[in-house]
Symmetry: C2
Subunit: 394 residues, 2 copies
């Protein structure tokens, strides 16, 4: 416990094209250096209202219960699952990626029983399989991952999945961590009961206050629980006192993170949510064209390609970690390797929020091409650059 | 879900002398606008090491398990209690303030049974009562509040309390939310097994990453649990994978909040922890002299006066909320009213971290005197100002 010798904070200047955090817009960084007001200050209550309105706009919902949870994305995830799942409830979760597994662990800790609907890593759920799982298990809660960060797969047919669940009187929880603000997600129109997200993906906001929305039906289940949620910090019936009409003290909100989220969401509204979805498709499309023209293969077919997280297959003979380390060292560029069943098989290249812009996409294609060539892959870097440039010029 | 019309972020410029958040040092605000690196970036791992070292210095401990929890103070509190208390364990908690009640709620949700050691709101625990409660209940875990934010009471005799607990083979959890970095707390010397804190009090750091330390004995209990902790997000055995030697992904750390905490703790180390404790006593001492000379009464006697949170009795005939609203409106100055058993009876005036400096203390005494006079209290504002000024000149 001697006095540590710690110098000035001088982290490297990275280009962030991994699975998150994405790069943060300068206006959001500036908002974070705003001096604080108290978490019960009348001016902060106004800011809370504004953030809730902006979140509703971004989630495409009129849900009253739309708040930032005071923690990173996994906190909003556990707030959703830990409140909705009561001891004795059955939750149906997918097996097609890392985050279905996390859902299962959270549901079990909440006292729930977990059943599965299967799909391989790298593929979406098939509605027929979901319907069969409902018939077999009659779950109370169904969770699915809209945008699987571990596999780069977009779950299509959301409205079809929610319809199956509602025919069975179940509640639907959607993981929109890597889609909110970057990929089309319509909470109300698609009849999603609960959705959660992280701020550090397509919203390009530093992690620390994480979006959550519940419709009245889901909130009624939460408020009718026989025993309280197993976490005090994440108990929605208590959070309702702070974020609802009463504005009563529960815990100290992460004020600066709420400031930042407000500014990040203001940028979403300025751009327009649909224009923002389009931009993600266009920028990631240019990235995809480039890596494909280079001779690489996307892991997901076009129908369930996830623009915000591009899973690119590692070419034969190349060690994935050699490439990611080289990109970090030589280019100050972060991308990630695969996880779980796709470990060693894919690169995960994010194209999210402020990182989804022409400069970063061009830089990525150029740097990745160089790195792969460095490690002996047979890639046509020039063709890749030309394809990306063409797409960006469209 | 129309596009909300939300303007630039322009919160008022408050002087923060409430129970937290305190004012944030400009260097810490500046650190928060630093662009992000990834949460698994080698440079971030180095920053994590530095923050852990700085936290050890501040807690006065060599504990390996010393980390910032990814949430506000209540998150580090629930991480401590939710991991240490297993289903079937008995936890002894105090009744002398708001935060003992929160401990009880968290322990029950963790599956524990709660027993109490009594003391009135506004008084510390008596070691004899603690010993008697141990004899009667034989608890497994004993929680106490070192610095009660709801009452302005400092718990003396910490080493005496921990000795009683350890004679009974129990684990001690200390709430140091309002003492860490401002009031003497020596985790190792006083034999505290687990301590948690919030960053937005005497560390003057925006809330969002909250200090926690456990000794090996407590961590062994956590790692030996028969069933996992009830929160995935706050599960220390999983957090250990990220903050321990492995540095494996668990959740996305609140990177910017870790940057801020690093800078705030660097300021602690630069000042020196003991010099910082002295400054808090001196600044709050000047505040206390001022309000006493004005004719007001402190709620706590000198022996357990808490410099970081000064509980001042509301003079007869004055409505507490009139005064706090006037201070906010006329002076942009935040102080708080009482809670629970002391509702309406005290003002709670923080003197923490960067808010514990001559300018803010003088301003507080002057503004509070004016407000009380405005609402008809018989206060000698001039005598108060003179007393504060004398103390600040010493």
């Amino acid at each position: 416990m001697d006095k540590p010798d710690v110098g000035e904070l001088t982290p490297p200047d990275r280009t962030l094209m991994g699975p998150g955090p994405s790069e943060v817009h300068p206006r959001v960084l500036r908002a974070m250096s705003t001096p604080l007001v108290g978490h019960l200050d009348p001016s902060f209550v106004e800011i809370m209202d504004e953030v809730q309105d902006l979140l509703r706009y971004t989630f495409r919902t009129d849900n009253q219960w739309t708040i930032p949870v005071s923690g990173t994305g996994s906190a909003s995830m556990e707030t959703a699952i830990g409140n909705l799942v009561e001891p004795g409830d059955t939750m149906l979760v997918p097996t097609n990626g890392y985050f279905g597994g996390r859902m299962a662990s959270m549901a079990e800790r909440a006292g729930g029983e977990v059943v599965h609907v299967d799909a391989p890593w790298g593929e979406p759920l098939d509605p027929a399989d979901v319907a069969a799982a409902f018939d077999e298990h009659q779950p109370d809660v169904f969770g699915f991952v809209h945008a699987e960060t571990s596999t780069g797969v977009l779950q299509p047919d959301v409205a079809e999945l929610t319809a199956i669940a509602h025919e069975h009187d179940a509640y639907v929880v959607a993981d929109t961590v890597t889609s909110l603000g970057g990929v089309e997600m319509r909470v109300d129109e698609w009849d999603v009961d609960v959705a959660y997200a992280g701020p550090q993906k397509c919203l390009s906001c530093p992690p620390g206050a994480s979006p959550l929305t519940l419709n009245d039906r889901a909130m009624a289940k939460v408020l009718d629980r026989e025993e309280p949620a197993r976490s005090w910090y994440l108990d929605l019936s208590l959070l309702e006192g702070y974020w609802g009409d009463e504005r009563a003290y529960h815990h100290t909100a992460p004020i600066t993170n709420v400031y930042a989220l407000r500014e990040a969401l203001r940028l979403v509204a300025e751009e327009g949510i649909e224009a923002r979805w389009d931009r993600h498709r266009e920028m990631a499309g240019a990235l995809k064209s480039g890596v494909e023209a280079m001779g690489l293969e996307m892991n997901a077919p076009e129908e369930y390609w996830l623009p915000s997280l591009n899973a690119v297959r590692v070419p034969d003979g190349v060690e994935d970690t050699d490439v990611t380390a080289y990109l970090l060292d030589q280019y100050d560029l972060e991308i990630a390797t695969g996880l779980g069943d796709l470990d060693g098989e894919i690169f995960r290249i994010g194209c999210m929020g402020y990182s989804a812009r022409p400069e970063t996409v061009s830089y990525l294609v150029s740097a990745l091409g160089d790195a792969l060539r460095e490690f002996g892959a047979d890639v046509d870097v020039e063709a890749g650059l030309a394809a990306t440039s063409r797409k960006l010029g469209e």
